[in-house]
């Protein structure tokens, strides 16, 4: 052969051929899945349901805690003061309490004011006229700064206020807030447990699907090993297949959640209207979606990694 102009190298550099093969397998595995759309869809749908359930519960909880955060704003502690305290002292106390950083707002209900309100609301107006002395004490209402993370602080504040010399009785209006928090806490852990179990299920589903894929492509694997393909080379298409299963499962899960929220939105609005409030369900923000897809992608890779690790070495040329 005559020597002509220099040819380029026959082989790609290791890095280039490594990256090229990755890219080829990324696309080839997608092609492989799209050539069997029904079984791909079924597997993805099962994965999607397993992902949508915990993700949906997570959103429900998120909404519930937002709801309770709204109501926290109206958490009030009423301080019923001792009988013989005069209004000047009350104002001083109120001013002092107002300084505390645990307290958002303080207001005074003068005993005369209180009586008038009571007359109006209760309908006992005439009967109260007959009393020669106002039976009501001065009242200070305290709106605490609510730290969502530790509802115990409010209870602690109530205790501190109870110990004030002038205070006869400190009463927290909304003990149920604490109960709700505890409930949400329990529910949150429940979601974590369900989520972990279903993540495990996704891992197993993908692992099993990849195991079947490996068996179906036994011939290719054997021949590849015979002609000197490395384990990593043979593993690659299966890992990418698993990853695509995960991602498509994640995308379908997103769709399922969006549709479910759409269905729930109207009745929730109606319910809110009954409480003279407007409330909008918050859906998945872009962060949540990215997290969902990332988790499903990782589960896909993990599941196929498990299957590949176990079953690829079983296939040897003979």
């Amino acid at each position: 052969m005559p020597k002509k102009q220099r040819k380029g190298p026959e082989k790609n550099s290791k890095l280039v051929s490594y990256l090229t093969h990755h890219l080829q397998m990324l696309i080839a595995s997608l092609g492989y899945l799209s050539r069997q759309p029904v079984s791909t869809f079924m597997t993805s749908a099962v994965i999607a349901i397993a992902l949508a359930l915990p993700a949906g519960l997570y959103i429900a909880l998120d909404n519930a805690s937002q709801l309770s955060a709204d109501w926290d704003g109206t958490t009030l502690i009423s301080l019923f003061l001792k009988d013989d305290v005069n209004i000047k002292t009350v104002e001083k106390l109120a001013a002092r309490l107002g300084q505390s950083k645990e307290i958002e707002k303080v207001s005074i209900i003068n005993r005369d004011q209180g009586l008038k309100q009571f007359q109006k609301i209760s309908g006992f107006g005439d009967a109260i006229e007959l009393l020669d002395e106002n039976p009501l004490p001065h009242v200070i209402t305290v709106q605490p700064v609510v730290d969502q993370q530790s509802p115990d602080k409010v209870v602690h504040l109530v205790k501190t206020l109870q110990n004030e010399k002038l205070v006869e009785l400190a009463q927290l209006d909304m003990l149920w807030v604490k109960r709700l928090y505890t409930l949400l806490d329990v529910a949150q852990r429940g979601v974590w447990i369900i989520g972990s179990l279903l993540a495990l299920a996704v891992l197993l589903i993908i692992g099993n699907t990849i195991r079947l894929d490996i068996q179906n492509r036994r011939e290719v694997i054997e021949v590849s090993k015979l002609i000197g393909a490395s384990d990593a080379f043979i593993r690659r298409p299966f890992l990418y297949t698993g990853m695509w299963y995960g991602i498509s499962g994640g995308l379908i899960a997103w769709l399922l959640i969006a549709v479910s929220l759409g269905i729930m939105d109207e009745p929730v609005q109606k319910l809110a209207a009954l409480y003279h409030s407007s409330y909008e369900l918050s859906g998945l923000n872009s962060n949540d979606i990215a997290t969902l897809i990332a988790i499903s992608c990782i589960l896909g890779l993990g599941g196929s990694w498990l299957a590949v690790g176990r079953h690829l070495s079983e296939i040897e040329p003979s």
Binding site: E10, K11, N12, V220, E222, V223, S224, K225, G228
Partner: protein, 230 residues
């Protein structure tokens, strides 16, 4: 190129398929491996390709002691060998071209170079016009030749063939054997297992014959040893 030193192979279950086999196949030579069915021919080839490991003895392949090769390095060794099987192991999910290209893809050859070499290999086995065809539509002899093209496409130094003419009629068998002789002319070392004694006699190449796992006659004595004819 290949040197067996007192190789024994006992399969799980205790059956000894090879007993104290020694021979030396120099680089650039072509040799036949004969023996009745079950004599251990396939086992011997599998030991060279690291599909099986010997129970005793050592194999030196191209200066490398195969006993020292860990599983991780097996692919590297196999890339220098072309292997041809009786049941050609073609993949029916892809056309002829892709079948033949596999060794080049695995080794990261560039696209253009791959095309060139696959064409050249198909040309050598006389199937250049079949590159786009599905292998399932080819005759037995043609499929076998596609398998051969795949085994030589990356120009391996050593070619192993296990009963490459097993299913073919005498004329096709002869053609295939001549093909191997041609590769050998270009410097490839070739070892062919076959029980077609008539054909082997015609081809006039050195022969090792096995009987029940032992060497019966050997044209490829290890230099400096006394041989092992029984």
């Amino acid at each position: 190129m290949i040197r067996f030193d007192n190789i024994s192979k006992r399969y799980p279950g205790g059956f000894e398929a090879l007993s104290r086999v020694s021979f030396h196949l120099p680089r650039g030579k072509l040799a036949y491996l004969t023996g009745h069915s079950g004599a251990g021919k396939s086992t011997l080839l599998k030991l060279i390709a690291l599909i099986e490991r010997p129970s005793r003895g050592q194999i030196i392949l191209d200066g490398v002691n195969l006993n020292n090769i860990r599983n991780k390095r097996i692919p590297q060794i196999r890339r220098n060998i072309g292997i041809i099987f009786q049941n050609h192991h073609l993949l029916y999910d892809r056309p002829v071209f892709d079948n033949v290209a596999m060794p080049l893809v695995i080794q990261g050859y560039r696209h253009r170079e791959t095309r060139k070499r696959v064409r050249a290999a198909l040309d050598q086995v006389g199937l250049l016009n079949k590159e786009k065809v599905d292998p399932i539509t080819l005759s037995g002899g043609e499929q076998q030749r596609v398998g051969i093209a795949r085994a030589i496409v990356h120009k391996p130094a050593l070619l192993l063939a296990d009963e490459p003419t097993g299913n073919l009629d005498p004329e096709l068998s002869r053609e295939i054997m001549e093909l191997f002789a041609r590769f050998n002319l270009f410097g490839t070392t070739v070892l062919i297992a076959s029980h077609d004694l008539d054909l082997i006699k015609q081809m006039k190449f050195p022969t090792i014959s096995l009987n029940k796992g032992m060497i019966e006659s050997n044209d490829l004595l290890v230099p400096g040893s006394l041989g092992q004819a029984v």
